[in-house]
Amino acid sequence: MKLYAYCLYADLDAFDNSVPGVSKAAVRVLKIEDISVVVSDCEAVPVTQENMLAHATVVRAVFTRTTPVPFRFGTLATEQQLRSFITTNKRALANKLAHLRGCVEMDLKTTWQSSNSFTTKPNSAAGPGTAFLLEKRRELVGNDQALAERDELSTFLRTALGSLIKDEKIGLPTSEKPTITKVYHLVESAKIKEYRARVEDLRAQRPELQLEVSGPWPPYSFANIELEFGSQFGVS
């Protein structure tokens, strides 16, 4: 029998596990080392919208009590594999749980017209071949403009939101117009209202920027750990 894993957490004795899991399976907590893993007994999980929402609902049930580290949808493993994963990555998981404790993820979608770009415009004199290769490069590593705009947006938001942001993940700006960049902020749960208010202030300061906030979310965007192999040997 395999286990479907929803999330893990460290500092909670119990939670409401009456919430149905994927494929309506019962949800239970598996204690491994000092970490609690929320699982269902399951052999396979059909990729359906209902199951994805069930995953999100179980994670949210834990989220109302403490900050979980959510697994990505579709994580199936044997109990032995789960135990091996947690034992092998015990230090990294402990660091991750400590980093996320008491925090939520706030998502900020920023949209602006390229004419109001943060930085310079792309080189429009490039021929079709050069333009094609530049676009391919942008898809792979991001072009200089996208990287510069991302960095400038990050600096702008960090300056404006300051200590409200504990951590940040930021995507590359899209190449289409208007330019959209997704930004994910890790925010202490006690500061959510202040965060929203500060974003409102930003809207007033920079009307050319469209800022859409969603959240609080369980910290999906901050969940991945650096593998022990990478942290120990400097290889990722």
Partner: protein, 72 residues
């Protein structure tokens, strides 16, 4: 004593208009990925560790889900 985080998160959650698409984006594209680790050995000597991510859905199913998301 009530959990402080619980109060804040629950209160904010009630006021949040979270779209279905965003929820699916979170559970499908983000979150902790279990990585398996294997050791390649030759003549009982461990030579190298390789880590691999576990992909659960078939490629065909993943494409189908992506198509659905794009049309929603």
């Amino acid at each position: 004593m009530p959990d402080f985080d619980q109060i804040i998160v629950s209160e904010e959650w009630e006021n949040t208009d979270v779209s279905l698409l965003e929820t699916l984006d979170h559970v499908l594209n983000r979150g902790l990925v279990i990585a398996g680790e294997i050791t390649i050995s030759v003549a009982d000597i461990d030579l190298i560790f390789i880590s691999l991510n576990v992909l659960v859905s078939s490629v065909e199913t993943a494409h189908e889900m992506l198509r659905k998301r794009e049309t929603e």
